[in-house]
């Protein structure tokens, strides 16, 4: 039975149209702590113009943002702040780890610098570089748009996928064993520095 539709009507899945809306209206929360933040600003400025990809509305309140861009190194004193801001963002939300420091700690292999934010908060896209060029960040946003279109759902079922609930390897006992300076007896989810 063929349904006669006018030319200006399309049939699609609810998921697909929700993803289409979400991916072209990413509102970034710039968590810029270092020189990557300068490139982040350049990405927003007129030459590179992040608005071409629908992500130009930088919001400094996590309540109004759905994409966290962590640009720069995160010291141990900043990590509780980062986690709190991440928890304050509304779902659906995504995270881009921009630059070597946010992704791995970079050259700052010291007691004060967290060796990659993905050990403690979820990350969707990693951008290498020190700092990355604006084109790389734009590529990350395009990749994130593809990811949202591919696996997003209206009700956010992709966020409760059991595979995603596993902690990253670095935080599992087998992954932590070789880390320098790790005290095996220290609890991971208790008080900080308890």
């Amino acid at each position: 039975m063929a349904l006669e539709l006018p030319d200006n009507v399309r049939i699609t899945k609810l998921d697909a149209i929700a993803n289409w809306c979400r991916k072209y209206s990413l509102w970034p929360m710039p968590f810029a702590t270092a020189c990557c933040g300068i490139e982040l600003m350049a990405t927003g400025a007129s030459r590179n113009d992040i608005a071409r990809f629908g992500a130009e509305v930088f919001r400094f309140s996590p309540r109004q943002a759905d994409l966290m861009i962590v640009a720069g190194r995160v010291p141990i004193k900043m990590m509780p702040v980062l986690q709190r801001i991440w928890l304050q963002m509304h779902e659906p939300k995504w995270c881009i780890s921009m630059g070597a420091c946010a992704s791995t700690g970079g050259v700052f292999d010291t007691y004060a610098v967290v060796q990659g934010i993905d050990r403690f908060i979820p990350v969707d896209i990693y951008v290498p570089g020190c700092p990355p060029r604006p084109e790389q960040l734009i590529q990350a946003i395009v990749d994130l748009q593809e990811k949202i279109q591919r696996e997003g759902t209206v009700m956010g079922r992709e966020f409760v996928d059991p595979e995603r609930q596993k902690p990253p390897l670095a935080m599992r006992p087998e992954g932590r064993a070789g880390l320098p300076g790790v005290i095996a007896s220290q609890p991971l989810d208790g008080e900080h520095f308890a």
Binding site: I76, K77, M79, P80, Q83, W86, L87, E91, K93, D109, T110, Y111, A112, V113, V114, Q115, R119, F120, I121, P122, F159, V160, D161, R164, Q165, K166, P167, M171, R176, L179, P180, G181, V182, I183, Q186, P187, L188, D189, E191, H192, F193, A194
Partner: protein
């Protein structure tokens, strides 16, 4: 009067005072017991009215044998004559306590907190001796030479937030 002249005057009052000069910079070394009195004398009688810095050096693996493990360094400036003098005192474990100079200079408040934070030296009489740079729950003093560069696991000790929980 030039700074070596001032030091020679001081030596009458502080016989144990030793001093040296390097590229026009005068350093005096004093015992902890006479430290406060010496700084007070420098401030009130010789015009060294500005406390430029308080810092500390850990001589743990130093090639030369020093009188103590920690060298506590005070840098004073005379704002009238632009003269400078460096006062150093040595401390050793377990008694890592020095008199606070906050009664002489208000500026010493945060400087002493920084020395406490980084080296674990306490200042007797300090009004508010808390950590100033590191998080409150931090238990080590990371500028000590026996503290490992990569820490004691502090940077790995955070709760993990997963997708489903956030």
């Amino acid at each position: 009067m030039d700074v070596p002249g001032i030091v020679q005057l001081l030596q009458k009052e502080f016989p144990s005072l030793s001093w040296s000069e390097f590229r026009g910079q005068v350093r005096v070394c004093v015992s902890r017991d006479r430290l406060f009195l010496l700084l007070q004398t420098l401030k009130e009688q010789h015009g060294f009215d500005m406390l430029a810095d308080i810092t500390c050096v850990d001589y743990l693996y130093y090639l030369q044998k020093m009188p103590g493990r920690f060298g506590l360094v005070y840098v004073l400036t005379n704002t009238q004559t632009n003269q400078r003098i460096v006062v150093r005192t040595f401390l050793d474990e377990p008694e890592l306590v020095a008199p606070s100079v906050t009664p002489l200079w208000e500026a010493a408040n945060w400087l002493e907190r920084e020395v406490w934070d980084m080296f674990g030296i306490r200042f007797a009489g300090h009004p508010d001796l808390r950590r100033i740079l590191l998080p409150d729950g931090f238990t080590s003093h990371p500028l000590r030479k026996d503290y490992p560069l990569q820490g004691l696991g502090e940077r790995n000790n955070f709760p993990v937030i997963r997708r489903a929980e956030s």
